[in-house]
Amino acid sequence: MIALLQRLAWSVVILFGVSVLTFAIAFIIPSDPARTVAGPKADPETLAAIRKELGLDQALPVQYARYVGRLLHGDLGRSYLTRQSVVQAILDRLPATAYLAVTSLAAAVLIGVALGCLTALRAGSSTDLAVLVGSLVVLSFPVFWLGMMLLYVFAYRLRLFPLGGFGALNVVLPATALALGTAAYYTRLLHTNLREVLDQDYVRTAHAKGLPPRQVYGKHALRNALLPLVTLLGLDFAGLMSGVVLTETVFNWPGLGRLAVDAVFNQDIPMIMGTVLFSSILVVGANLIVDLLYLVIDPRIRYRQS
């Protein structure tokens, strides 16, 4: 229980830091936000009025206090460009991103675990090397380039998948582009972990007492080898969001990443701040969930703390 509260307090501290940083970023942006709203031909009076309306004439700490106050009410401001509520825009785009991210994460875990197990059972240093080299090469692909290659081969040449759009068939290529790097990483990790676990005494004991191999691998070895993977899922979440930004741009996927990229090009500061802040809240949340999950699945941590 104490561990849980500590973990929650920690998340709050991080979120505070995140809000300070996003606020700082927004304030350093050199262009004049009022001018972006009013357009290049606006006269000084209009500009002053807009500045006042947006609170840009106040002192920095006041602006920050107001900003946090609004944040706590779930208000991220309005787009300078379309005057749409930022929270609304994010919520509109969230399902598409979640769809893409969950599909690709599921694919990455499935491929990674399957390949990791298969290669670990074929013990031998040449397999080790092949897994290491193969995963390093796949990890080196720029995700946007991988996406374009998949589009060219499977959508344009072979016509197996649609070139763009949104739907069940349309998600396959972007999710694959996003998943391959992560899958390669998980494959190597699980391979190494399993090789180590299979050398442990308790696995030998399990074999010796006559358990069927299925049970030894599935129940004894795999469970322990999978633990570090769970931590990584949380840590990788930030990396996944980075990949999402590029993948959505390549495939014109109507998600958060596209929203952020468009906002950057329009110098739409509330929208940039909103998407950046929102995605880091997602990251902090994902890490919190993973830590709590860890308390559930690894009894050693619970015992140590009580």
Binding site: V13, I14, G17, V18, L21, I25, I28, I29, P30, S125, D128, L129, L132, V133, L136, V137, L139, S140, F141, P142, V143, F144, W145, M148, M149, L151, Y152, Y156, A238, G239, L240, M241, S242, G243, V244, V245, L246, T249, G257, A260, V261, V264, F265, Q267, I272, M273, T275, V276, S279, S280, V283, V284, N287
Partner: protein, 276 residues
């Protein structure tokens, strides 16, 4: 052991690939058959396929792709070296200070690291890139600002364990100042780690730079950059897939080189440490 030998070979291979890349980048003016910035072929809007004398084809503006790729190696390497050095300077400083001084300094620095880590790197990078004037300097700074966290964490834990060792206590007892202790005693011991982190950060930097260029936030045109070439090829990829394939392979080559070197070195140094 056979496994260790092959990892050593991997490090050598990566090293050789890096040296080749550096040689190609330096020799770009002599290796390039054409001017990378000028239209040399009459292929405006209708790129030539690879063949003689344009070995990798031409782009939609009639420029020779091979020459552009060779010159692109220069800009990629420049960004890789400078941005990674900046990353290492920030990361090593933060990590060593946190590990050595401990206490509230450690808490503050590590909390800062956690805050930066909770931003998706690319998203933070494009938000930052949007506020600086586009140019090389801003790319260096943006990449360093989003990438130093991993280095800081690794160095911190390394220094934490070194601090328990007798030679640090001895130096301390002899009255060494913190600065002298860090520079003369701690840094030489973490140098192998810094080398490995440097190689791995470089592959990250190349990918991040390519991503920024792809989004149009990298080196301004007309400087040839691999990421930008890929995004420019998007309009033509059905007609001229080579405009997308070759710059991508160039990026993969560079990233693979630094990954091989870094991971190979990591494995070799890891086993050496375990033996001693």
């Amino acid at each position: 052991m056979k496994g260790q030998g092959s990892q050593r070979a991997l490090a050598w291979l990566g090293g050789a690939m890096i040296l080749t890349l550096i040689a190609v980048a330096l020799a770009a003016p002599w290796l390039s058959p054409f001017d990378p910035l000028r239209a040399v072929a009459d292929s405006f809007g209708d790129p030539f396929a690879p063949g003689k004398p344009y070995w990798l084809g031409t782009d939609e503006l009639g420029r020779d792709l091979l020459s552009r790729l060779l010159y692109g190696a220069r800009i990629s390497l420049l960004v890789a070296v400078v941005a990674t050095s900046l990353t290492l300077v920030i990361g090593v400083t933060v990590g060593v200070c946190a590990g050595y001084f401990g206490g509230w300094i450690d808490t503050l620095l590590m909390r800062m690291t956690d805050v930066v880590l909770s931003f998706p790197a690319l998203l933070l990078a494009i938000a930052l890139a949007a506020l600086f004037q586009p140019g090389l300097t801003s790319i260096f700074v943006v990449i360093a600002v989003v990438s130093w966290t991993g280095v800081a964490r690794t160095l911190r834990s390394e220094v934490l364990s070194l601090r328990q060792r007798d030679f640090v206590a001895a130096a301390h007892a002899l009255g060494a100042t913190p600065l002298r202790l860090i520079v003369r005693h701690l840094l030489p011991n973490v140098l192998p780690t810094i080398l490995v982190m440097g190689a791995l950060s470089t592959s990250n930097t190349v990918l991040l730079d390519a991503g920024l260029s792809y989004l149009g936030l990298g080196v301004p045109v007309p400087t040839p950059s691999w990421g930008r070439m890929i995004s420019d090829s998007q309009t033509y990829y059905r007609l001229a897939p080579w405009l997308m394939v070759f710059p991508g392979l160039a990026i993969v080559y560079a990233v693979v080189a630094f990954n091989f070197f870094g991971y190979g070195l990591l494995a070799v140094l890891g086993t050496r440490e375990r033996r001693t």
